[in-house]
């Protein structure tokens, strides 16, 4: 996926001026937020389970090497293979190698953010293998050659009529006069087309919501059942997942599952929860002949020892972006890479570099709603601030901003000088707005006055400190 995070401001402006996108984004506000709130309120122990989930992940991350080793052992004893990939490139080569060995022409794919992170579709296409997305949202954006704009609802930036347009453009062998006015007709059409692809696929690739160390099991949750067909029908099943998906036991899975769907879509549970352990056994009714797990690091083990460690607790529910005023305003594509929203603002600088993703942790009001709803209690604003510190230390923040803050801090550190200077400044500011009470434009404050008036200081501009001192003197 091409990275455009460095032009975030421009992306955002374009997104704000895009009426179709704005119409689609209004559904995020009305849909996800209310449903999550109802689901959380209906479970009295929800906040306690959040503590449990956080503790499970913290424990796992503290002993990740041991649990990865245990997981690998169990997968092997179940007849599967584990491949470690330190980088995206190495993960891609591993997947390609398995596909080539299986003489694969087409692969079906369940929804996987790791596959998006490593750019798996483009890579397979470049190497003559056709990937077919089977999650409806992913299928739609694949037809449109777009990246996901949300980590659980990849096509949330689109309206129904845009989907209809894409289906008509892609499914040219279907009658042109067919009725696609209802969402169900779109769904049925995709289902019919994907059914063929499921049956024809040589390899099925899924992600994983959990990798269970105790049993060597990979777990996926979906609402469409596409993941099951992806992994059961082809001869080879490849799981691509990152190191932090490990949890110790099935009991831990069941705890975190109580948070996942509630935080994501407001469901108690997703419609399908699928556990896979190794390839088909002799008396299994179905399943793949080969079962591979590609475990990706891609900079995560570096996070383990850093101030960003807690971000590795993320279970990819999307609640942080659903509740983020910035995400709601500009949508996911403006962020310019795979992970948008608050979690993206923390992960992307690690994964693609702060030089490219520097805008993302800055584009936050620090309103704290992301942290408030995060089921894993990740302190997202604090982590965004840590990125700002790194930018400041490395002189990556814009020179004008650094100069402005430096100048302001020079005064703020010297109360006497500050009070002397602000007395004069406020008088000037108050004088300039006599009879009006506010400014409609103001030098050096164009960012403010472009869209809002700027209130002038109260009265004649005498500061509180000045008035207080005068009162003390006369008292």
């Amino acid at each position: 996926m091409e990275i455009t995070s460095n032009t975030f401001k421009k992306n955002a402006r374009e997104a704000l001026a895009d009426p179709a996108l704005q119409r689609a984004m209004s559904h995020v506000r009305s849909g996800f937020i209310d449903k999550r709130a109802r689901a959380a309120a209906a479970l009295p122990e929800f906040d306690e389970i959040r503590d449990t989930g956080r503790d499970i992940k913290n424990h796992t991350l503290a002993h990740l090497d041991l649990y990865l080793e245990a997981y690998e052992d169990r997968v092997r004893s179940a007849g599967g293979e584990v491949h470690y990939a330190e980088t995206a490139e190495s993960a891609l080569e591993t997947v390609l190698g398995i596909c080539r060995k299986a003489n694969a022409k087409t692969v079906t794919k369940g929804k996987s953010m790791i596959a998006e992170e490593i750019g798996l579709n483009e890579y397979l296409e470049e190497h003559g293998i056709e990937p077919v997305e089977t999650d409806l949202g992913e299928y739609i954006i694949q037809l449109r050659h777009e990246g996901p704009s949300h980590i659980i609802a990849p096509a949330v930036h689109l309206n129904k009529d845009q989907v209809e347009e894409s289906f008509r453009a892609a499914h040219t062998d279907l009658p042109a006069d067919r009725d696609l006015s209802e969402p169900t007709s779109l769904l049925n059409e995709a289902r019919g087309i994907l059914r063929e692809r499921f049956l024809a696929a040589d390899v099925g690739i899924t992600g994983a919501n959990f990798l269970v160390a105790e049993t060597g099991t990979s777990v996926i949750v979906t609402n469409e059942g596409n993941g099951d067909l992806t992994q059961i029908l082809p001869r080879v099943h490849i799981v691509v997942a990152s190191i932090e998906k490990i949890v110790p036991t099935l009991n831990d899975v069941s705890q975190i599952m109580r948070l996942l769907a509630r935080s994501a879509t407001g469901q108690d549970l997703s419609v399908y929860t699928t556990f896979s352990t190794g390839p088909r056994r002799p008396d299994d009714p179905d399943g793949p002949d080969e079962y591979h797990v590609v475990i990706l690091d891609n900079g995560r083990s570096e996070m383990l020892g850093s101030e960003f460690k807690e971000a590795l607790r993320c279970i990819r529910c999307g609640a942080c972006m659903n509740h983020c005023p910035v995400y709601q305003a500009v949508g996911g594509h403006a962020y310019g890479w795979v992970y948008p929203g608050p979690i993206g603002a923390v992960l992307d600088p690690q994964l693609i570099g702060i030089e490219k993703a520097g805008n993302l942790p800055n584009a936050s009001t620090f309103c704290g709603r992301c942290e408030e709803v995060c089921p894993m209690r990740i302190p997202l604003p604090k982590m965004m601030r840590h990125w700002r510190e790194k930018e400041f230390e490395r002189h990556l923040s814009p020179a004008t901003a650094r100069y402005g803050i430096g100048l302001w801090a020079f005064f703020a550190r010297r109360p006497r000088l500050y009070q002397w200077a602000t007395r004069w400044a406020m008088r000037v500011l108050a004088n300039g707005a006599i009879g009006k009470g506010r400014y409609t434009s103001l030098p050096l404050a164009g960012g403010w006055t472009k869209y809002r008036d700027f209130p002038s200081p109260e009265g004649d501009g005498r500061t509180f400190q000045e008035q207080w001192a005068a009162r003390r003197k006369s008292a």
Binding site: L16, V326, A329, F366, K390, A409, G437, G447, D453, T463
Partner: protein
């Protein structure tokens, strides 16, 4: 013992830079309310700003210097009170973390933080204030500023005290807990996004039908007032302390007596 009980607690008022420069009435309202809650108030001259502009820009060095100054100026008081959830949260929750490599200062910052309160929650939660002697006829709505709400748990306190203001009718604002788009330097670094967020906020404010908008943070108030005025809305904007202290003779934020 009797003397100890009778002693009025000493409160250091952290004025906040925006109140100091743009809305002195809020400072005087805070003094009046804190005194009404049975405390003596002092305003140390050695204060400027809580340091958030530097802190949120990643400039920890300057933030630490400012924090040391604030702590020195205020640590001798029984309480430190600020008419802002944002600045209050900064003093209370974020100073200590700046001194992770300096145990002596970290301990001072923690002891200091324990004394810090936002104004309205100080009145209700610490001083047990249940009502105020104030009159403000008309309908008002209240915006929950983010830091006060989520860092300090301020939600019911201002509503409780507003409920005792004579003539005041409180109408709830839809999505009152959603950010107004101010975000400190955010609003000038990302003006287009900030504008999109505050537009949604003013839409709800107007839809509430209230004549006056109140909140507890000057930054948010200046942002929302500025947007309402740019949109030619007739809603007036004030800091909640002005109403609670019955000090509403001064024109609303961004207005003059004539406007």
């Amino acid at each position: 013992m009797a003397d100890e009980k009778a002693r009025r607690p000493k409160v250091g008022l952290f004025v906040t830079c925006l109140v100091d420069l743009f809305r002195p009435t809020v400072g005087f309202a805070a003094v009046k309310l804190i005194e009404a809650a049975g405390c003596d108030v002092e305003v140390p001259a050695a204060q400027t700003c809580c340091g958030q502009p530097a802190f949120n820009s990643g400039d920890d060095g300057d933030t630490r210097a400012i924090a040391r100054g604030v702590i020195k100026a205020f640590e001798s008081y029984d309480y430190v009170v600020a008419p802002s959830g944002s600045c209050g949260g900064m003093l209370k929750l974020h100073y200590a973390g700046l001194f992770n490599d300096d145990p002596a200062w970290k301990a001072r910052a923690e002891a200091f933080g324990a004394k810090v309160h936002e104004l309205v929650s100080f009145l209700t939660d610490v001083r047990g204030m249940k009502d105020v002697a104030a009159r403000f006829p008309g309908s008002v709505t209240y915006h929950d500023s983010c830091a006060g709400l989520r860092e300090l748990g301020i939600r019911d306190q201002p509503r409780q005290l507003l409920g005792s203001v004579e003539g005041l009718k409180l109408v709830e604002l839809k999505d009152a807990n959603v950010c107004c788009g101010f975000g400190g330097t955010f609003c000038v670094k990302y003006p287009d996004i900030s504008n999109a967020i505050v537009e949604r906020k003013t839409e709800e404010i107007v839809a509430s039908g209230a004549e006056t908008l109140l909140a507890g943070d000057m930054g948010c108030l200046m942002n929302m007032a500025g947007k309402l005025q740019r949109e030619n809305r007739s809603v007036s904007v004030r800091h909640v302390a002005e109403v609670l202290a019955d000090m509403t003779d001064v024109p609303p934020i961004g207005e003059t007596r004539e406007s």
